[in-house]
Symmetry: C2
Subunit: 336 residues, 2 copies
């Protein structure tokens, strides 16, 4: 039986579903439950990572300092991880996280922009922290491109590198191809982080392990925006049944998930129409609210907007494209 | 591009999630929406099928007669299907369903008990109805056994035969093996009906199509007991993307699913701890309430009860086994 390391971003990626409003009691309670279950790595933070709490993407209920010290105290065995997006987070934030005892630091970049992580990965290498590089929106790059960027990230200092299926667009064969190509290019552990827009998060995670991924992400009850993440307490026993040891206690894991459902979220994620459409279109689901607002005002179908954004390969940060697409669809409609 | 026929049991299997309380307006509204989306077959009935409304498994809000006439009126293009379990349903019920204009009649039996369907399938053959035979709890039989029973069902008169993953236990390779063996044994269309206890319903459905299944079941928002069924409006576009034409209009399908979420269910299904455990154990999730009640009274862990029921290969109708298992676990605990 081979083994995989389970990485749990419930207290970071899940924050997107509650506008970053998890409080100290929720953070502590879940971290303790995850630790008791033997989950190897517990990630915490604002949904957009270190330093991201802001008017633009939402202020967190709790500061980075308090999040980190709360979770650090709660974890006896599990490692603590943080996430950062260059631009939102800075080297100062990384320094602070290391000082708070973060064992794993993940730097996330768009899948073909690893160069943006170079400085941060280099800094973390010097600090001796376990640096991961996560290639986001990974459906937008070919397996060969991802392999090339994985090799670059390792060159910059990443001790693990992997892909996030940020739009929930990938199907199992897509994952197999991508992880497989990366496994040939680098010797560090490979990460897979799934989203469930097309109901494939668990199947994709098993495909990733089969292709050589050694670190699999999952969130309790799939806690996350829209259709949510890979459901942690499902993927763990399914990986075990598929021949991958996780070292996690099943009953304690189910208890942690019940705590999460009760104390962290108003309700578990539902795969609604726009989650499905954004998954099919391959568009970041974080565009949802702006697409809905602008479509309603212009009287166009938000689903058309998502598919057109997908054709234009829109990525996070390109919210201006929504304005263009809505205006164009509205004009096209008026011309009929 | 090959094609698959989508069969939609939202108004029958979904009833389990609302104790068979769907009313006339809900039945009519969803049937109209499904018809507008071009869903080929719409199934309706009490969750346990024709004639099942009773104190023992729950009285439906609406009689079989009213359900059938309501849905028949609402469907302009889609075929109407009904389900029956020999023992609950009788030949009189089948006669009534055919008189109401049911196009497809599914007879469900435990996967190794096709002989129980012989008389009913023979009757339907004489009536000229399109008879299907569904082999339930199909994880409990080997591919070879399922192939043998599929051939028997076809001999009795079934014009399509397939498997229900009633416990939500199967993984994609298990489905491939089972459908593959059946495809070698019979020449009629093969059916796959999934449940989502292990997050695999959509992936299993794609695997089924890949192995030769021509009829795929799905319910709007996965409407069904516990972790629910294969989510219809997800599996359809994923099948399309995987190379299987369905003939269904995506936007109208998404609209039907939104109607279902709003008008049929208090909330979409959630994959909770006991759904996961019953899926792993391979036990019918309908045991849940009795397992919970009896475990609480005896002070034993309901998860242990499910796993022990799985080891004893309990099937629906063997509720007495729950009493035995709870008593034994309780005695074992007292002896420690």
């Amino acid at each position: 039986m081979s083994s995989v390391v389970i990485h749990d971003p419930t207290l970071r990626d899940g924050q997107h579903a509650v506008r970053h409003q998890l409080g100290v009691a929720a953070l502590r309670g879940y971290a303790e439950a995850a630790d008791a279950a033997g989950i190897p790595v517990v990630e915490v933070g604002h949904g957009n990572g270190l330093g991201a709490s802001s008017l633009q993407v939402g202020r967190a209920a709790v500061s980075d300092d308090v999040m980190l010290s709360t979770v650090r105290e709660a974890l006896r065995h599990s490692k603590m991880a943080v996430f950062m997006l260059p631009g939102w987070g800075t080297s100062d934030d990384l320094r602070k996280a290391v000082a708070h005892g973060a064992d794993v630091v993940r730097v996330g970049v768009h899948c073909t922009e690893t160069s943006l992580a170079e400085r941060h990965l280099g800094f973390l290498r010097e600090e001796g922290a376990e640096a991961h590089c996560a290639l986001m929106m990974s459906h937008m790059a070919t397996p060969a491109e991802l392999a090339e960027h994985a090799a670059r990230a390792v060159g910059y200092g990443a001790r693990a590198v992997g892909i996030m299926d940020s739009a929930g667009h990938l199907l199992p064969q897509d994952v197999t191809d991508r992880i497989g190509a990366m496994a040939e290019a680098v010797d560090v552990p490979l990460i897979f982080h799934g989203h469930n827009n097309l109901g494939m998060a668990v199947a994709n995670s098993v495909a990733a392990a089969g292709a050589g991924a050694a670190i699999i992400d999952g969130c309790a009850r799939g806690f996350g925006a829209g259709a949510g993440n890979t459901q942690l307490e499902v993927v763990v026993p399914v990986l075990e049944r598929s021949g991958y040891a996780t070292g996690i206690d099943l009953y304690a894991l189910l208890d942690a998930a019940e705590f999460a459902e009760r104390e962290l979220m108003p309700a578990p994620p539902v795969t609604g129409s726009l989650s499905i459409v954004s998954g099919l279109a391959g568009v970041f689901s974080g565009f949802k609210h702006q697409v809905l607002d602008q479509s309603a005002r212009a009287g166009v179908d938000p689903r058309d907007v998502f598919f057109e954004l997908g054709r234009r390969q829109a990525v996070a940060g390109q919210e201006d494209l929504i304005v263009d697409v809505v205006a164009e669809l509205s004009a096209r409609k008026a011309a009929i």
